[in-house]
């Protein structure tokens, strides 16, 4: 498998002119005696062999990514792939050994402890896998806690906490203790707490991994709903590929401390960079990740269309409809400008995986 420098999303460049919120360049987290000097000696680019000779362990190697404002950025990897370490480097809970991390143009690694405390208090929020609720505080006090640390006075912080409690649908539970809540409810508290300070960037570290599958789906929908209202910049960690493609604008796939591909779910499914990625995407229903634009023929032939879809709509969202009507659908841009059409037979081929057969024959 490809062990070298990561594939970037140069296969299909996506137009994205939103400003970069979080930039991470050549970040390494290396464990071992004198890791920093070791990295300096090799100019920040040691080979795997040099590392094993020096008895260094790279938890994160050569990670570069950028997250744009309002983006759902997902870091996906199996356990031990370094995803948790990476996100802790991004929030500087762990000190990276090498590289740069810029948050809104501020060099996070050069920030003084005081500056870092300020940034975290007002601009960052984090949700944890096992909720990390304080056992001695009620739901209300837990959610108001970040504000209380900042010294916001009681009335104001409780008013704000009540607002987020309503937002996550926990109204009426303000005076409960965490131990009296179910896992899903506890994570709602964790989400509400991280939102209480109105963060600009929102780190979610496997927030739904400790929940039952049904609750997990419900919480994913809940997250999408919240995000459609709040439009935060999200960095979301998961080991679940289905969760990744359900929530992501873009996904970074990690293995052995390296990012091996970054791309939209569609790009990952259609153009997996390595066999490892293909292994994950193989069983994905492509209708769920592919947009109408991908199946569209750039022509306007029919006189009469069975319906209209946007280029960004997922095929699964209109597949049943188009197959039922058995007429071509018009594809338009977000502004409503017609750009092409989708034929029902193409959709059927896609659903039946016949297009892949055809490609294979050709």
């Amino acid at each position: 498998m490809n062990d070298q420098a990561p594939m970037r999303d140069d296969t299909l460049p996506v137009q994205d002119d939103r400003p970069i919120k979080l930039l991470c360049k050549d970040v390494w987290k290396v464990f071992g005696d004198g890791a920093k000097q070791f990295m300096a000696k090799h100019n920040g680019t040691p080979t795997a062999e040099e590392m094993s000779n020096a008895k260094m362990v790279g938890a994160v190697r050569h990670a570069s990514l950028e997250v744009r404002r309002g983006e759902n950025f997902i870091v996906m990897g199996l356990s031990g792939s370094g995803k948790s370490t990476l996100v802790r480097c991004l929030s500087r809970l762990i000190e990276p050994t090498w590289g740069t991390i810029e948050f809104d143009g501020i060099d996070l690694l050069k920030a003084s402890p005081e500056a870092l405390i300020e940034i975290r208090r007002h601009r960052m929020g984090m949700v944890f896998q096992h909720f990390a609720l304080l056992p001695h505080l009620t739901v209300l006090e837990n959610i108001a806690f970040p504000l209380s640390v900042q010294g916001v006075e009681r009335k104001a912080r409780e008013a704000r906490a009540r607002k987020v409690i309503e937002l996550v649908g926990l109204g009426g539970r303000e005076q409960f203790y965490p131990r009296e809540l179910s896992g899903g409810q506890q994570q709602r508290v964790g989400i509400a707490r991280s939102l209480a300070v109105e963060p600009e960037i929102w780190f979610l570290d496997e927030p739904f991994s400790a929940l039952d599958p049904l609750i997990r789906r419900e919480m994913q929908s809940e997250l999408l709903r919240l995000q459609s209202v709040l439009k935060k910049t999200i960095v979301f960690i998961t080991h679940d590929f289905d969760e990744a493609i359900r929530l992501a604008d873009r996904v970074a796939i990690m293995k052995d401390g390296q990012i091996i591909q970054i791309g939209t779910p569609e790009e990952l499914v259609l153009h997996p960079a390595t066999d490892y990625v293909a292994e994950f995407t193989r069983d994905v229903q492509r209708a769920k990740v592919m947009s109408a634009a991908r199946l569209m023929r750039p022509q306007l032939s029919s006189a009469e269309y069975g319906g209209t879809v946007k280029a960004t709509d997922k095929i699964s969202s209109f597949a049943a409809h188009i197959v039922g009507v058995r007429k071509n659908f018009l594809v338009t841009t977000a502004e409503g400008k017609p750009v092409g059409e989708v034929a029902p037979d193409d959709v059927i081929d896609l659903l039946a995986d016949r297009d892949q057969l055809r490609e294979a024959r050709a």
């Binding site: 870092l116 304080l134 009620t138 005076q175 203790y177």
Partner: protein, 659 residues
């Protein structure tokens, strides 16, 4: 210990080299023992070579005393203020002015205090706990121990918070600076926990005089180790994510500690608080020897005068107080159902607290006018002393010969021969054997430690007394372990027996060591046999507990696998259950030995002739050097036995793949 040592070679793997070394060592020791004239200095440590550690310590203490009087006086004065307050509130009342014009503000009414304890019991644990608390307090009141018990309670009420604050601070320090923990705090805690209780009293007596304050300080120092340990453990156990959370919301280091880490570890810290309270009670009783007063003083007086009845009454009052404090402090930790309602005022939030405070105020105010509220009326007081005396007299009249025969038999055929053997044992031989065992079990570092500590007992001229301690402690611990393991096995096989045993063990464990002496003295008078029996009773609990737990915690699938392989019940026990439970049982034995050691020392009060007596005499003479040197010797015996047992447990565990 020597029994365990000589049994070592059979447990070591049968490689020829170690066996040879053991054989050689035992041969050397045997020659020294049988033919002492070969090297008399190696058998009996020469008086001329005794290092005068005791004198050095005395000089140091004298220097401290003369040069730091301002400091010790200051400390005494400062702590005396809250202590006098507590004593006045609970036991004595305030008196303003002199003579007939004096205005007296009464102490809290006994009726109010009983009610407050019952209400606390109800709030923490429902009607059951309320009735236990009320019954114990009413016992104390009716049996005429009220004032002493309140004095004891006042000392605890001041020393426990002191202990908790300082202990938690030390725990935080150890958590933040691991090297301080390793180099200073950990060894200090080890020493503090193996140092006999009496040894704490001597420096306190010298520095702070014969007063309640020095009793209180001795108590605070003695009861501190569990708080430090619980705090370190609590902080280490806080989930990593909670720590990260504290960082991510931008806590300053101080906010993170005080508002995130410590509250999250609350449950573990409360276990420490419970232990602190129980240890404090134990120590307050013993501090009565340096003027702390209270229930301990009553027991002490009664014991000295051999007034069994009075001693028993005061002893039972200690038991009652111990049970109340233990159950309440344990129940206070358990989470209670939350109210789930908002916007209540203080009274609505804390109805029980309000009720208790209200009752205390009303009854105390009433006691100004109604004498029955101020003091327990003589009409309802009961004294059991005559009954106890009658019971003992009856037993002595009817069973004197049997008991005396049993006692004499034990002394003549078991205790004295072992004692003689150990006292005559060559000191260098013992050092050699202990060091070799440590080397084989763990390595050079442990060997050096135990050799130095064992040698300390010899070079300070305390060898014979150390051996006397070892003999009494060893015999008691072995008997306690034997019966403890047997009872533990029985408990592990029979749920009903286990259910019966649990409350008994709980109670035994809560009782201050003093309480074990009284009933045994009643039957066996003073001496080694009494000390041994009291020690066995005191030290047996961990052996039972750990054995039961060790057998019960064996994974079900292993038992099933053995059953499927066709094990008979006997094979199951000897070849599956016992070997797998052995590491856990060893932990229990280790604790039994340490408890036995601490009890043996207290038994100096009833006439044993060992290191405990040395400390006891030093206490009477206020001789710091003598007392502390003997104290260190006792602590070192404890540490050596603890390290050796722990090392053999580790080896067992690694052999079973449990660690």
């Amino acid at each position: 210990m020597s029994v365990a040592d000589t049994a070592m070679p059979s447990r070591a793997p049968s490689i020829s080299a170690p066996t040879m070394i053991w054989a050689a060592a035992i041969a050397i020791v045997a020659i020294l023992y049988l033919v002492p004239s070969v090297a008399p200095w190696a058998v009996k440590y020469p008086m001329s070579a005794v290092i005068p550690v005791a004198d050095w310590i005395s000089v140091l203490m004298a220097w401290l005393k003369t040069n730091f009087t301002w400091l010790t006086r200051g400390i005494t004065d400062i702590f005396n203020v809250p202590l006098q307050w507590a004593i006045n509130i609970l036991a004595k009342g305030w008196k303003f002015g002199y003579g007939p014009d004096a205005v007296v503000f009464p102490r809290l009414s006994w009726i109010g205090v009983c009610a407050a304890f019952a209400i606390a019991g109800y709030a923490f644990g429902g009607w059951r706990l309320a009735s236990v608390a009320a019954a114990c307090m009413i016992y104390i009141a009716l049996f005429g121990q009220w004032e002493s018990a309140m004095l004891t309670l006042a000392l605890i009420a001041i020393s426990v918070p002191l202990c908790i604050v300082i202990g938690a601070a030390l725990g935080v320090l150890a958590f933040r600076k691991p090297w301080i923990d390793r180099v200073i705090i950990e060894p200090m805690l080890d020493l503090m926990q193996t140092m006999p209780t009496f040894a704490y009293l001597i420096p306190m007596l010298l520095l702070f005089g014969n007063s309640p304050v020095s009793g209180m300080l001795a108590t605070a120092v003695f009861a501190m180790p569990p708080m430090v340990r619980a705090t370190i453990l609590a902080l280490k156990r806080v989930p990593h994510e909670i720590d990260d959370f504290g960082e991510m919301v931008g806590c300053t280091p101080r906010q993170k500690l005080l508002r995130v880490l410590l509250p999250s570890g609350r449950a573990t810290m409360m276990i420490g608080v419970n232990q602190v309270i129980m240890l404090a009670l134990n120590m307050v009783i013993i501090s009565s020897m340096i003027g702390a007063g209270g229930l301990g003083y009553d027991v002490l007086l009664a014991l000295r005068a051999l007034k069994i009845g009075q001693g028993m009454e005061a002893g039972l009052a200690i038991v009652a107080l111990a049970i109340v404090l233990d159950r309440l402090s344990q129940a206070a930790v358990r989470p209670r159902p939350a109210l789930h309602t908002l916007d209540l005022n203080f009274v609505q939030r804390n109805p029980m607290l309000t009720l208790a405070v209200g009752l205390l105020i009303v009854t105390t105010a009433l006691s100004l006018f109604v004498p029955a509220f101020a003091a327990v009326p003589a009409a309802i007081k009961v004294s059991t002393a005559p009954w106890w005396k009658a019971a003992v007299d009856w037993i002595n009249i009817h069973f004197f010969d049997a008991i005396e025969a049993f006692r004499t038999f034990l002394l003549l055929y078991i205790l004295n021969p072992i004692r003689d053997f150990l006292v005559a044992f060559p000191w260098l031989g013992m050092v050699l054997l202990v060091g070799l065992a440590a080397y084989r079990l763990s390595g050079v570092r442990l060997a050096i430690l135990v050799v130095l500590m064992t040698s300390f007992c010899a070079v300070t001229g305390l060898w014979e007394k150390s051996m006397a301690t070892l003999y009494l402690c060893g015999v008691s611990a072995i008997i306690a372990a034997f019966f403890g393991i047997a009872l533990g096995i029985a408990a592990s096989r029979n749920d009903r027996f286990a259910a019966f045993l649990t409350p008994v063990l709980d109670t035994l464990q809560t009782l201050p060591s003093f309480c074990f002496i009284i009933p045994v003295v009643m039957l066996f008078r003073v001496g080694d046999v009494t000390a041994m029996i009291a020690t066995i009773l005191f030290a047996i609990v961990p052996a039972i507990r750990y054995t039961n737990h060790g057998i019960r915690q064996i994974p079900e699938n292993l038992i099933e696998a053995a059953t499927v392989s066709g094990c008979t019940p006997r094979q199951m026990f000897w070849r599956v259950q016992l070997p797998l439970a052995l590491p856990e049982i060893m932990l229990g034995i280790n604790q039994t030995v340490l408890l036995a050691l601490s009890m043996i020392i207290i038994c100096a009060m009833i006439g044993t002739r060992d290191l405990g007596q040395e400390v006891f005499i030093a206490l009477a003479k206020a001789d710091a050097g003598r007392g502390l040197t003997a104290g260190f010797a006792i602590a070192f015996i404890g540490i050596v036995s603890d390290r050796l047992l722990r090392a053999s447990t580790d080896r067992l565990q690694s052999r079973l793949g449990l660690v």
